[in-house]
Symmetry: C2
Subunit: 206 residues, 2 copies
Amino acid sequence: VIPKATVSRLPLYLQALTEYDHLGITLVSSEEIAQKLGITSSQLRKDLSYFGGLGIRGAGYDVACLLGRIKEILGMQKKRRLAIIGAGKLGTALAGYRGLQQHGLEVKALFEIDKGKIGTAIAGVPVYPLAELHAQTARLGLEIAVLTVPAAAAQKVADLVVEAGFKAIWNFAPIRLEVPENIIVQYEDLVAGVLTLVHHLSRKLG
Amino acid sequence: VIPKATVSRLPLYLQALTEYDHLGITLVSSEEIAQKLGITSSQLRKDLSYFGGLGIRGAGYDVACLLGRIKEILGMQKKRRLAIIGAGKLGTALAGYRGLQQHGLEVKALFEIDKGKIGTAIAGVPVYPLAELHAQTARLGLEIAVLTVPAAAAQKVADLVVEAGFKAIWNFAPIRLEVPENIIVQYEDLVAGVLTLVHHLSRKLG
Ligand SMILES: NC(=O)c1ccc[n+]([C@@H]2O[C@H](COP(=O)([O-])OP(=O)(O)OC[C@H]3O[C@@H](n4cnc5c(N)ncnc54)[C@H](O)[C@@H]3O)[C@@H](O)[C@H]2O)c1
Ligand SMILES: NC(=O)c1ccc[n+]([C@@H]2O[C@H](COP(=O)([O-])OP(=O)(O)OC[C@H]3O[C@@H](n4cnc5c(N)ncnc54)[C@H](O)[C@@H]3O)[C@@H](O)[C@H]2O)c1
């Protein structure tokens, strides 16, 4: 099994390797990748050692091979179907984000309680009434629910999502959700990143 | 000095304490906070010990006092002025996000190259032409640049941002930026979270 901390760094390696691939670079050293990402090359080599010896001594790593291996470990070989609940500012931005599709994630439906949004389409994806969550989830084979509803509505929406048969929740609302053990919840706190930035800014400049 | 790993957990504690504060809870134990966040209470107590003994033995932590202390360490006492560069889907969502203001972050300007967007306002914030970046930065006292432009434009925009006198960059474009040592860059990889979720989903379900 690959340690959680290593898994959490894989998206970073994926981004760097995808960039090399776009630039037509086929072989790259661990020093070069590590320098680009601001980590130590020993940390990188240790992480990559969990996938079997992919480095060619003295020549570096095969970019295409490593990219394929990381995508496999992240489970990107299989397409996953997403529903976005709450077609507001953030839900709309995510619905139109091509980066999701590039990683095997297909947005198949949006759900809303706002009558003005129901029956419309965002980035070509239909907006259904929340009342149809259960029926549409079964019909479309939806697996991951993206919560972009206000914090006050998030727990109730999470309850509906669990009842409808979703296996995982990607939560953008700034509250902790109470869900059964078997449901995977990934929290996204957009503000955490900028608060870390502000902390470094205050220490530097006051 | 507070260790980087502790600083990176502060936004999580901030979110939990803000929730307690909204619910009118004035005193809370480390076990209760730790359980809500899915971490160990010894990790929590260790982190909080860097701010001086805020816990009252046997009674727990004073929510308001701890909240104030964390905001101080994160540098939220001072308001910071932001510019959003790229008024597309994500830039628009961020411009209208009240969560930024609640953390002392004020969006004062958006910048664009799209003639259809220049001269408009998003969430009440004016959209200026990118050509005016230097002049508006000085006039408005802008400190943090939020990059929500396509990856292909991001490095060039970062160069302009550094020239205009910004001290920090909050980057959403999926590429590593090359900037001088003294500029703080915080990367945001929105996809990293959902890829971690997909990894756990594949390991559970295949
Ligand atoms: N906008 C951002 O950049 C941003 C950044 C970080 C976090 N967030 C978080 O993401 C969430 C959404 O933010 P937003 O800015 O898009 O808000 P928004 O108000 O623009 O959109 C919320 C949408 O959810 C819908 N909604 C409300 N209750 C619902 C329910 N029970 N079922 C289905 N839909 C429901 C509303 O009709 C609305 O369309 C919030 O929790 C917010 O804190 C937003
Ligand atoms: N939409 C999302 O949910 C999402 C999620 C994660 C990451 N991102 C990243 O955020 C960035 C923006 O994504 P988006 O979906 O908002 O794209 P978008 O195409 O909707 O918006 C990009 C905007 O940037 C403007 N622009 C282009 N070049 C510019 C320049 N040199 N100076 C100023 N403005 C310029 C365009 O006119 C456009 O309005 C991309 O790098 C994307 O990969 C987006």
